[in-house]
Amino acid sequence: MIKIEKNPVLVIAILLTSLILLNSCGGVPEEKVKDGEMANNAFSVEEVLEMVAEENDVTRTLYTKAIVGKGKLQGMKFDEDWRKDDVEAGPLPALFLRGVATSIRKSPVPLGLYLGSDFPVNAANKFEGKQAELFKKIKEDQEPQFFYEEDTKLHTAMFADLASAGACVTCHNKHPQTTKDDWKLGDVMGATTWQYPKDSLTYKETIDVLNSYAMGTVDIYVEYLNEIAAFKDSEKPTIGDKWPVEGNYLPTSEVFLDSVKKLTSYKTMKKLVAVRE
């Protein structure tokens, strides 16, 4: 019988064979940034969150003023219970934002978006701890606040959410469960909180963040249009290229997104193509 331990050649042969067998397939391909995709991290997480927060400001203002504000004048209804079967209405701006946030979470982009306040209509949206502390500063100077959430290992940013339209003020002041009824136009009503797991992003990751936000707005807006399609008792607005300011009309999701892009693209593009040292 051959004794392996006394035969170094055999030991080496077995080891070599194992090594070859183990490595013959190559490993599982690692997902790396391909050449030409700008592998180097191009933007800090703060810059990216500022970019997407600005897009959010424009989108929400457009939705609040041009859809909710003007839509109400045409008799369109918007309700916090808009998803209920017996309610024929569209989402209020805060719920529009929540819809965007939900859509983002379903995308592969690890971006978190939340809305809170010190005087929320829904008690569950009241800031606590670090967020409450930073929100006080935001109310003073309206400047964004950034911090690193140690427990969740997430880079977090908070941005002022202003009462940018009359509809914000009147709805919140008149709401049966409001905790503050003297809101004025321009007040800091709350703050959006954004989270991302990395401290810097590649160009592609930055575009993915911006796209996931844009897709989120389309998703919730399409949900609203689907809700309208299912109306049984209420008059349905005509969906096309016209806006509520012109009558009982609503823009399609494409028209809505185009308008958002027109309002935001120049500013965002300037940041994306800015020469970096």
Binding site: C25, G27, D85, T152
Partner: protein
């Protein structure tokens, strides 16, 4: 060519039988009809008809590649490790079938910093905190008083129930919440206005263990069946 020592015949026969038996066991356990033998326990309510693969998808690469990649990761040659055998089951797996736009308590909301103390008590960012699989139940959380973690300050204007919500909270009757409200808000039903008309706790407990649904059968969204899930995934691809 291949001589076996007469003194080693028994060992050789044993070895051959062992290898053949091993192959048979492996083949048997890979059959779909044998899935119940490798399952950690009975599937939870509503999941009886699911195959293992609906949650436990094959990890990328073959076993040799996975071993090699993980060895490289340990040696620092590779940036990320890889799943071995099957992919980790995550919330995304659950949401592929149970994603509901109107969920009253969607997981992602609890990732916000203001819930960080609460999720130390009950981690609502993941489904398995309450729905741990392979237990043959519907809800696996030990006590259903979880509402107390977020709703201590709840005030209801024009409270519709005879015993006010504020009273129930002050008396710490946290078990009564679920007697009216299903956590995810996925049922269409009339909420009672008298505490005595609410669903008895015994019925609720039976439901949580996998019994009949006391909130009724009129649901807003129904989870996908396996064929529907397969169809959805094929469409995505």
């Amino acid at each position: 060519m291949f001589k076996i020592s007469p003194l080693r015949k028994r060992q050789f026969t044993g070895g051959v039988v062992g290898v053949l038996l091993g192959i048979c066991i492996v083949l048997f356990l890979t059959l779909k009809s044998s899935e119940e033998y490798i399952s950690l326990g009975p599937m939870n309510e509503g999941h009886d008809d699911l195959s293992c693969v609906t949650c436990h998808a094959d990890a990328k690469g073959n076993l040799s590649q996975q071993i090699q990649s993980n060895m490289q990761f340990v040696m620092g040659i590779r940036e990320h490790n890889v799943d071995f055998g099957t992919q980790d089951v995550t919330v995304e797996n659950c949401l592929q079938c149970h994603d509901r736009p109107n969920d009253r308590h969607p997981n992602h909301r609890f990732s916000e910093p203001r819930f960080k103390e609460i999720i130390k008590v009950i981690d609502a960012t993941t489904c398995i905190t309450c729905h741990s699989e392979h237990n043959g139940e519907r809800v696996t959380v030990a006590v259903v008083n979880y509402c107390m973690n977020c709703h201590q300050d709840l005030k209801v204007e024009e409270d519709p129930i005879d015993v006010a919500h504020e009273t129930l909270i002050a008396e710490e009757q946290w078990n009564t919440c679920i007697q009216c409200h299903d956590f995810h808000g996925n049922h269409r039903y009339e909420v009672p206005t008298k505490l005595q008309d609410t669903i008895p706790m015994q019925t609720i407990n039976a439901y949580l263990k996998g019994g009949k649904d006391p909130y009724g059968t009129d649901k807003k969204y129904i989870g996908l069946s396996e064929p529907e899930w397969i169809k959805l995934n094929l469409n995505k691809k």
